[in-house]
């Protein structure tokens, strides 16, 4: 398995023996996974299986939960992100995240996208910042819809547009990894299709990791799929292989709809 990954693409994220505890309960047990760059990796599994928890380890969002404890190593580009010297704030600029429910700031569309670059000092001047905003909105396939009303509130957009705005906001800090936690679960099918199409194009520039409830979505957009069950990483491999010839019976049961 390790061999197939190294031959396929450059390695971006490498997790080794990751365990996550919430107080006394264990949420994730001994997960090791290698995620390649410039690809879409999907985490699937039934509710409560730990896939979102693991995703939130990748940008240390779990740090905000007091009782959460993470052990093991997670390396991004060979650097241990849980090292004492790593400031999570810097890490999160490099590892963007999009949440389940669209959560734009209650500010203008422009300010939503400009916020990240502003606090990280990515723009030298106003024109520069405008370029970054435009670029991010274009990459998020939202520019044509909002270019005439950048000053209007981001919360006034439709659900799908809001989610693309959140993607633009994440892209604006020029991250290398983009984490998506069920980004389409609150959206209608048309908006979902747009986001999926967008994710497929984002793959050229970013390492995308997506948590999804929909196996069909995982099959449509991802190159790699990891199946989580009860805190364990049951199976990880090329998406085609997982959905056609799963090695583990639990994976087979899940994708055929018998568990989950």
């Amino acid at each position: 398995m390790t061999e197939s990954i190294s031959t396929m693409a450059q390695l971006k994220i490498s997790a080794r023996n990751v365990e996550v505890h919430y107080g006394d309960t264990i949420a994730i047990k001994d997960v090791s996974v290698d995620i390649p760059a410039n690809s879409v990796t999907a985490f699937i599994g039934p509710s409560g299986c730990g896939k979102s928890t693991f995703l939130r380890c990748l940008n240390r969002m779990n740090d905000t939960i007091n009782i959460c404890r993470v052990t093991g190593d997670i390396l991004i580009d060979g650097q241990d992100i849980y090292d004492h010297n790593v400031d999570p704030v810097q890490l999160r600029a490099m590892v963007g995240m999009v949440f389940q429910k669209p959560n734009p700031f209650p500010k203008s569309i422009y300010d939503n996208v400009a916020y990240g670059p502003k606090i990280h000092g990515l723009a030298r001047n106003k024109a520069d910042l405008g370029d970054i905003v435009e670029d991010a909105l274009r990459k998020a396939a939202l520019w044509n819809e909002v270019k005439d009303r950048l000053g209007s509130p981001g919360t006034g957009l439709s659900g799908g547009q809001q989610q693309r705005l959140c993607i633009a906001r994440a892209i604006a800090t020029s991250p290398e990894v983009l984490l998506m936690d069920e980004p389409c679960s609150a959206l209608d099918p048309i908006a979902t299709a747009q986001i999926e199409e967008l994710i497929d194009t984002l793959r050229q520039n970013y390492c995308v990791v997506i948590v999804t409830h929909s196996m069909h979505q995982a099959a449509r957009i991802s190159q790699k799929t990891a199946f989580f069950h009860l805190g364990n990483l049951v199976e990880y491999g090329d998406t085609d292989q997982i959905f056609t010839t799963p090695h583990d019976t639990r994976t087979e049961s899940y994708i055929t709809g018998r568990i989950g």
Partner: protein, 442 residues
């Protein structure tokens, strides 16, 4: 179940009972609102009816001659010498002026000099003296001034004093009222809007007509400034730390419980605390707005902290996540995103806390703000010690006036309550407007 029970056109017993219960509940609710509204109407109408008189005042227009012989015996116009003539020197001048006016109008009266004196406020001689000392050139000529009528005369024109009550009153007589009525018919006595009520300082027991709220309003204003400047930043900083940064453990639980308890502590306890710490220990001046403001700050802090924490809690966590996920630090996420969203709640809580502090009396009594302040404290006209001079406050002034014997002060007290209520209404309106303004942004 029988087949007839299944008809939708007939209500079964259960439905009827439920509908009746709902109807009863609505009636209770309406009744409760009715009682509350009635209480409010009663309160407002009683305060308004007894207090509105304080906003008008009766004045006598007098042309007083200022004889050189009495006011400036030396002829040197030396201010120090002239100041030796006390208000007792000026009172007869006013009486003469009034007697002259009465004679000119052809009113025949059996009033003695003393009774005529009693028609003019004791304050009048003092204000005439002040006026003359400020303009010494007037001496030897005549000056026309509107002087305050006595409280009984004032009360007669407002309906508080009647011929019958005057007959039983040692301070006035039906004859004096009759003369006053003739003077009013001739336009010499006039009742008009009373700015002095809002600007003048308090006056002694014998002259309710001269008493005003000026010092009390200033004192309250300064105290509110102290409260705002101290309680808002301290309260907001404490809440932000407790809500956003503090680890959840026994210590923070203990602090939380204690803050809630502090909010329920009777306000007089804060007065005792203020007396012990700010006056006895720190040696700050008693009855000063600074000490009053500090005590009210302590009292208002829990209110502000509780409402600020509630406002912070109501900001959805997804906003914090969103900010953290683009690489904002904890502090950036709080100050850039959470705080602006919580601002309307914080402002409302602060203004309600301020309003509470504005109407608070008990702790101020303990730190000596119940003092009788006859003059504008010197500091109000000078630069130093703006907050350190003795002052009083609106609710304390009400308390003070209700204790005085002269019925003129009862009217003043109600008038002061109206002023206080107006201030409170304005503050609450501001709170609502601010809330709307910030909430409407998106």
């Amino acid at each position: 179940m029988t087949t007839t029970a299944n008809s939708l056109l007939v209500r079964d017993d259960r439905t009827k009972r439920r509908n009746a219960a709902e109807l009863r509940f609505r009636a209770y609710g309406l009744g409760a609102i009715g009682i509350a509204a009635l209480a409010l109407v009663l309160l407002l109408s009683s305060v308004l009816s007894s207090g509105v008189g304080a906003f008008s005042q009766t004045f006598i227009t007098l042309e007083t001659s200022l004889p050189e012989a009495k006011l400036n015996k030396s002829g040197l116009r030396d201010p120090a010498v002239m100041a030796k003539v006390s208000t007792f020197g000026y009172a007869p001048l006013l009486r003469d002026a009034l007697l002259t006016r009465i004679a000119e109008l052809g009113i025949t009266t059996s009033l003695s000099d003393k009774n005529v004196d009693a028609m003019i406020s004791k304050e009048a001689a003092a204000s005439l003296r002040d006026h003359v000392l400020a303009n010494p050139d007037l001496i030897g000529g005549k000056v026309t001034m509107d002087v305050l009528a006595d409280g009984r005369i004032d009360g007669y024109f407002k309906g508080r004093v009647t011929m019958e009550s005057a007959a039983r009153d040692g301070n006035t007589s039906p004859e004096a009222l009759r003369v006053a009525q003739r003077l009013a018919d001739a336009g010499v006595i006039e009742t008009r809007f009373n700015w002095r009520f809002l600007t003048a300082p308090d006056a002694s027991d014998q002259r309710p007509e001269a008493a005003g709220l000026g010092v009390a309003i200033l004192g309250s204003l300064y105290m509110m400034l102290v409260v705002l400047v101290l309680a808002l930043p301290i309260g907001v900083a404490a809440s932000i730390y407790l809500e956003e940064f503090a680890p959840r453990n026994r210590l923070s639980d203990l602090i939380e419980v204690n803050i809630s308890n502090l909010a329920a502590v009777p306000s007089i306890v804060f007065g005792i605390l203020g007396l012990a710490i700010f006056i006895n220990f720190s040696g700050l001046r008693q009855s000063s707005p600074l000490v009053g403001g500090l005590v009210l700050t302590l009292m208002t802090l829990p209110t502000i902290i509780i409402s600020t924490r509630a406002a912070l809690k109501s900001v959805p966590p997804s906003i914090r996540d969103a900010a953290l996920a683009v690489g904002a630090s904890k502090m950036q996420s709080v100050f850039h995103h959470v705080l602006p969203l919580a601002a309307p709640g914080i402002l409302t809580g602060t203004i309600i806390g301020l309003a509470q502090a504005l109407g608070e009396t008990a702790p101020l009594l303990l730190i000596g703000m119940v003092a009788f302040v006859r003059e504008y404290p010197a500091a109000y006209s000078h630069e130093a010690g703006l907050f350190g001079e003795a002052a009083t406050a609106l609710p304390v002034q009400v308390f003070n006036w209700t204790q005085r014997a002269d019925p003129g002060f009862a009217e003043r007290a109600s008038g002061a309550i109206i002023v206080l209520l107006v201030f409170l209404a304005v503050m609450n309106t501001v709170a609502i407007l601010l809330r709307r303004h910030f909430e409407r942004r998106w």
